[in-house]
């Protein structure tokens, strides 16, 4: 005879996500409504004291969210918040003449060019806790793994999505630039389409 197992009580929290206000662009007051999707809180209120080891949300190959907790190991931060390099910055070239700079090692007729990267407006980007997609995170598909997955970072090619679960499709936002104007698309939408699977590929999972 075995003793019956009594299921453990589930821990619940009474903490609810509440709206909060912030001031953007120096003067505009905005009420922010946090939303929770698949356990990830978007537009959450920032902490009063910024925590350098604040957990952030990464994505698995199939697009499932997983929380990463940074830690300090031998004085170095490991698994820290991702660095996006200049992928989301705008390059701006400045030309300086000798009269403007008066540099001691510059010829009077010389022109100096400098490329400056301007940070993007992070007013709304900062509310997203999930890792952003950059070309650095593209994967490669095809038999020879030589076809870039642009503009997608997740999900990986031939991932498996289960019914009832939530996954995140991520893409590099600057991929959608208008070919003439060069402006990044302001709005996008996601489509799902059926494809016919060949008999050769059908049912070959795990073989």
């Amino acid at each position: 005879a075995r003793q019956g197992i009594r299921p453990k009580e589930k821990m619940t929290t009474s903490e609810e996500v509440q709206n909060w206000k912030r001031t953007i662009y120096k003067s505009i007051v905005e009420i922010v409504t946090p939303t929770v999707i698949a356990g990830v809180t978007f537009s959450a209120k920032p902490e009063e004291t910024p925590n350098p080891l604040k957990p952030w949300v990464s994505l698995g190959h199939d697009g499932k969210a997983k929380t990463i907790k940074p830690k300090i190991d031998k004085g170095q931060t490991k698994k820290g918040t991702p660095d996006y390099s200049t992928y989301f910055k705008t390059a701006s070239a400045h030309t300086y003449s000798y009269d403007e700079l008066k540099a001691h090692n510059m010829d009077p007729n010389e022109v100096f060019e400098e490329v400056e990267f301007i940070d993007e407006d992070d007013t709304y980007v900062s509310l997203n806790p999930i890792i952003r997609c950059t070309p650095h995170n593209y994967f490669f598909k095809g038999f020879a793994k030589d076809i870039s997955s642009e503009p997608f970072c997740t999900p990986y090619h031939t991932s498996r999505w289960k019914v009832g679960e939530t996954y995140f499709v991520t893409w590099y936002t600057r991929f959608f630039e208008h070919e003439h104007s060069g402006e990044v698309a302001d709005e996008v939408r996601v489509h799902l389409s059926y494809v016919k699977e060949s008999y050769a590929d059908k049912g070959n999972y795990k073989r």
Partner: protein, 163 residues
């Protein structure tokens, strides 16, 4: 609106570059697994010009894992001694019926041992084995054969020396 798409989300801001997708069972259309393509349409491309298969990711949506592991609830029931043991009764009853049949058969044959008479069957079978060929001269094949009749072998008078 887009050709070939079975589900399209609303327009969203292209700020974060992400879209949460909750997989619905209706998308499988009664099948266990289906292959789909996920694609993103920017606003500046009209619906009739957008091809969802051009820049898309192929993936599979499934009802669940093909290897069905016992759930936590099932494990808890097993631990509590509550099992669905129908297969156990079926597996046990089949050999039991066979054993009972053979025991009954043994006693039936033992009881009717004296009343059995298979002699007519056995006699016919044995007679087939002991078939008599008949006379050589009456055989069809050798009927017309001119065979010398049996005569005694020549005998000689014994000499005195042989005696």
């Amino acid at each position: 609106d887009v050709k070939g798409a079975f589900f399209s989300y609303d327009w969203i801001k292209n700020v974060d570059g992400l879209q949460a997708v909750e997989v619905k069972e209706d998308w499988l259309q009664g099948e266990f697994e289906r292959s789909i393509v996920v694609s993103v349409q920017p606003r500046y491309i009209p619906e009739d010009e957008f091809d969802p298969l051009q820049n898309g990711v192929v993936l599979h949506i499934t009802k669940g894992s093909r290897v069905f592991k016992p759930t936590k609830e099932q494990l808890a029931l097993d631990e509590a001694g509550i099992t669905n043991g129908q297969w156990y009764y079926v597996a046990l009853s089949i050999p039991t019926v066979v054993v009972i049949f053979f025991v009954f058969m043994y006693f039936f044959l033992y009881a009717n041992g004296n009343n059995r008479d298979f002699t007519d069957v056995t006699r016919n079978a044995l007679n087939k084995k002991r078939r008599v060929l008949g006379k050589f001269s009456e055989m069809k094949r050798f009927k017309n054969m001119k065979n010398h009749k049996y005569t005694e072998l020549p005998s000689y008078k014994k000499t005195s020396k042989q005696n």
